[in-house]
């Protein structure tokens, strides 16, 4: 089993941080082989950015994401850049207000639109939309329990702990069928 | 306790040169590579007398230097030395002192080496107030390559690269050292050997970044081009144009940028002595405290 996961959006959304937390959860807590990489433009804020994960139950030879099995798109740019290459049996989770148009994504791809940013606003800070996304990812894939993703958040993002945990929980509470 | 405080015996101010060399020096096979009459030999003798005055254990003395006429001096001493790349003495010495703070660390550098190519390392070592004694043998130019001008060459004087007279103003190295944060700054000349010995000893004993400018003649390249072809001409030049620092000399007059042209404009006076002293925490000691705290914290965290 090998899975490629990409969390993409624009700089400032905490996508690389989210990918590190997810790598911690999948690699250290769930005991998969994991490599996490990142790509960003030279601007800290506003440029395109992504955090990538390859996870497998065997040693990983090639460490980079080529064809994501799972894409979290936190901005329209991310859909434009990465959506059209998605294979039919893959899954995309998009933010419902940051992404207007999913027509670039080929037919057959499972698209979930969720109010990640809006939930973050309700929790108290738009900056924790990445945490909402992690909760949603855990629920949607069934790869991680709420406890496991929360544990990784505590390990890797100890600052603003209460806010982050609320955001993860709110993401996990989204009405996806578990393991959809 | 630092090595400099290990008083093994009683210093003898009149110790014969042979005995000094026996304790602190090395004798080359064949000739010394200083030019006949060079000020470096006089400077080395004062440095060995300073070691003797402080009763240093020479095996605990380490120095760093780069390229220049002066660079042979360390080979004629019993202390350990990094004969490194041009101008980097203060950076090398910083590594030595931080890695082994118990050593007495010197840099032996020329004016071109320390102030031209090595100026950046010099000002930052001074800023850190790391316990290094930086000794600058100032001969008004690059002697090793044949007497080109350096950042200390008096304006107007002729050198191999200023045949019409040096068009730039020089640094006052002492003023630069003070500005950069050196906590002990002094000036002396090889024409004042007793003063030079005492000044070097004070600087080495200082806890913090100490800077000594040693005016050391190069009659071969600078003197010859500026009407002072013999060593004695330049000894007299230093004696005639020097004054010892005192309360009578206003602070701003203790520094200057010399102007000298043979038979032309001359404005030259060297104020000798300790020109600046200021207590400030020393870097290797501060770092040792930081390290103790970091280790305690790591132990508490189980790392």
């Amino acid at each position: 089993m090998k899975q490629e996961i990409r969390i993409a959006g624009v700089g400032g959304q905490g996508l690389v941080s989210a990918s590190v937390i997810l790598a911690e959860a999948l690699g250290v807590i769930r005991d998969f082989e994991v490599v996490q990489t990142q790509f960003y433009s030279s601007h800290i804020t506003g440029g395109s950015s992504s955090g990538d994960i390859v996870m497998a139950d065997e040693p990983i030879v090639f460490p980079w994401v080529l064809e994501p099995d799972f894409l979290i798109a936190m901005a329209q740019d991310a859909v434009n850049a990465h959506g059209k290459g998605m294979r039919p049996d893959t899954t995309v989770l998009v933010d419902d207000i940051m992404v207007d148009d999913t027509s670039a994504i080929p037919d057959g791809v499972e698209i979930h639109s969720a109010p990640l940013t809006r939930i973050a606003d309700e929790v108290g800070s738009r900056r924790c939309a990445n945490m909402v996304a992690l909760g949603a990812f855990a629920k949607l894939t069934g790869l991680l329990s709420l406890d496991q993703i929360s544990q990784a958040v505590s390990a890797r993002a100890p600052g603003r702990a209460e806010l982050n945990q609320q955001a993860v929980e709110a993401g996990y509470a989204l009405p996806f069928p578990p393991g959809a | 306790m630092t090595a400099r405080q290990d008083v093994a015996g009683k210093p003898d101010p009149m110790i014969p040169l042979d005995d000094l060399i026996e304790q602190y020096g090395e004798v080359p096979e064949g000739n010394f590579r200083y030019c006949p009459g060079c000020g470096l030999g006089m400077a080395q003798s004062a440095l060995m007398r300073a070691f003797h005055r402080l009763q240093l254990d020479i095996s605990q003395v380490a120095s760093a230097g780069g390229s220049g006429c002066y660079s042979i001096m360390a080979h004629y001493l019993k202390s350990s030395h990094v004969h490194g790349s041009h101008g980097r003495g203060c950076a090398v010495a910083t590594g030595m002192k931080l890695a082994r703070p118990e050593l007495t660390v010197l840099t032996l550098q020329g004016d071109g080496d320390l102030l031209a190519i090595g100026g950046n390392h010099f000002i930052h070592a001074a800023r850190r107030n790391i316990d290094i004694t930086a000794i600058c043998f100032n001969n008004f130019g690059f002697g090793d390559t044949g007497g080109q001008f350096a950042p200390t060459t008096p304006r107007g004087s002729r050198t191999a690269t200023s045949p019409q007279g040096m068009p730039e103003d020089p640094f006052d190295p002492c003023k630069l050292a003070i500005g950069a944060g050196a906590t002990f700054v002094a000036r002396s000349t090889v024409a004042h050997p007793v003063h030079l010995t005492k000044t070097l000893a004070q600087a080495i004993a200082w806890k913090g970044f100490a800077f000594v400018e040693v005016l050391q003649h190069c009659h071969v390249f600078w003197g010859r081009r500026n009407g002072m072809p013999e060593a004695i001409d330049m000894i007299n030049f230093y004696r005639e144009n020097s004054a010892f620092n005192s309360a009578a000399i206003p602070e701003e007059e203790r520094f200057g940028t010399p102007v000298y042209s043979e038979g032309g404009e001359q404005d030259i006076r060297f104020v000798l002595g300790v020109l600046h002293q200021q207590e400030r925490p020393e870097f290797s000691e501060q770092y040792a405290k930081l390290r103790d705290r970091a280790q305690a914290k790591a132990r508490a965290a189980g790392r």
Partner: protein, 385 residues
């Protein structure tokens, strides 16, 4: 051993510390900056020293000074910083001062593209310093290997009394992977430089070599011996201070040749490669660093299509593993060298295979995009036609 998610640039740091390095001098530069950041935290924790110098020249010279006192010392840099310290690398190599320099390679000449990766300093590692300097350079391809090769680099630098370069890459330095590292660094092998056992009166200085393969002992500053660390580097045969004894006949030739031969005589311990599916390989991929991962994935894909592909991964870049290249290509009909430069390793492979009639083709990326397995397979099919 415990599993952890480790950052590539931290793996270099932990490897250095595990091998006993206790001095780091650095200067921030992308993409090596995190090495300095982690070291500023870790060095004091383990009883060592971190100092941030005024430039890369300052860092490398502080490393030389610290190492002269007997403390294992490390710095890291990238791109323009590595270009700046070529002289100091040469000084340390000729002065035979053990040191490890981690080059987290970025892209492009000049300032280049700081945040992007490359493999563009293969030749610089060997030919950067002036005056016929030997090089030892290792090229990790995973985060875990970044740790172990930095351990190896520290050990080799001590054993050989030379500078060992760890050729990282932005793509590796900024990568995280789950790794299993020893919890207790006491268990990690540590090599110490040769130190004199003779009484100080009989010590002939740090360069008392009689044979071209000798690695003479060097006394730490302050240990009771007089040591001149001499970057002038023309040392008399049998020891003594060349500056005191004067230039002796043959000293220059002996010194320069010994710097190389002391390394080449131990080539078997230094040159490391990994062989994958080479036994029947008709097409051999020769790759290193991060791009070796692409080559390994490509070989599996090519095999699935019926092409007998194998991989020779160069772990040691310098001294260049020529013997391994020749052995790997014994049955090859073609060799493909994928690398993120314009063909620096390919040139070395061509040189190693001189006389053999085998096409050696390159896949060369200088846009900082990694080479994909499909690109390598496509090139393979093109070459075999």
């Amino acid at each position: 051993m415990s599993k952890q998610l480790l950052f590539g640039n931290q793996a270099f740091c932990e490897g250095a510390i595990a091998a006993g390095a206790r001095f780091y001098a650095g200067y921030p530069i992308t993409p090596a900056t995190e090495v300095a950041e982690f070291m500023s935290q870790r060095m004091p924790e383990v009883g060592g020293t971190y100092v941030q110098m005024e430039d890369e020249l300052g860092s490398m010279n502080a490393v030389i000074g610290a190492s002269a006192t007997g403390v294992k010392s490390v710095t890291a840099s990238a791109g323009p910083g590595m270009a700046l310290i070529q002289n100091e690398l040469g000084q340390a190599i000729v002065a035979e001062i053990p040191a490890v320099v981690i080059n987290v390679q970025r892209a492009g000449p000049g300032i280049g593209n700081a945040t992007r990766s490359g493999q563009m300093e293969i030749m610089q590692s060997r030919y950067g310093p002036n005056g016929e300097c030997p090089a030892v350079a290792l090229s990790p391809s995973t985060v875990e290997e970044a740790f172990w090769l930095t351990v190896k680099a520290v050990n080799l630098s001590e054993q050989l009394r030379t500078v060992v370069l760890v050729l990282g890459e932005g793509l590796l330095g900024l990568q995280r992977a789950v790794v299993d590292l020893p919890d207790d660094y006491d268990e990690v092998e540590k090599v110490e430089r040769p130190r004199p056992t003779l009484p100080p009166a009989d010590y002939r200085g740090a360069y008392a070599a009689n044979l071209r393969t000798d690695i003479p002992p060097i006394a730490d500053f302050g240990s009771g011996y007089k040591t001149i660390v001499n970057t002038v580097g023309i040392q008399p045969i049998g020891g003594g201070d060349g500056s005191i004894l004067g230039m002796k006949e043959g000293a220059q030739d002996f010194t320069i040749r010994r710097l190389h031969e002391k390394i080449l005589a131990r080539k078997d311990e230094i040159t490391m490669t990994e062989e994958l599916m080479l036994d029947d390989a008709e097409v051999v991929y020769i790759a290193f660093g991060t791009q070796a991962r692409s080559a390994m994935a490509a070989a599996a894909k090519a095999r699935a299509r019926g092409i007998k592909a194998g991989v020779l991964r160069l772990i040691t870049i310098w001294p260049f593993p020529e013997d391994a290249v020749r052995a790997a290509c014994a049955k090859a009909r073609a060799v493909v060298v994928p690398e993120m430069n314009l063909g620096q390793a390919r040139m070395l492979v061509v040189n190693a295979l001189a006389g053999a009639d085998i096409p050696v083709v390159g896949i060369n990326h200088v846009d900082s995009s990694f080479i994909t397995p499909d690109q390598i397979v496509a090139k393979t099919e093109e070459v075999l036609q």
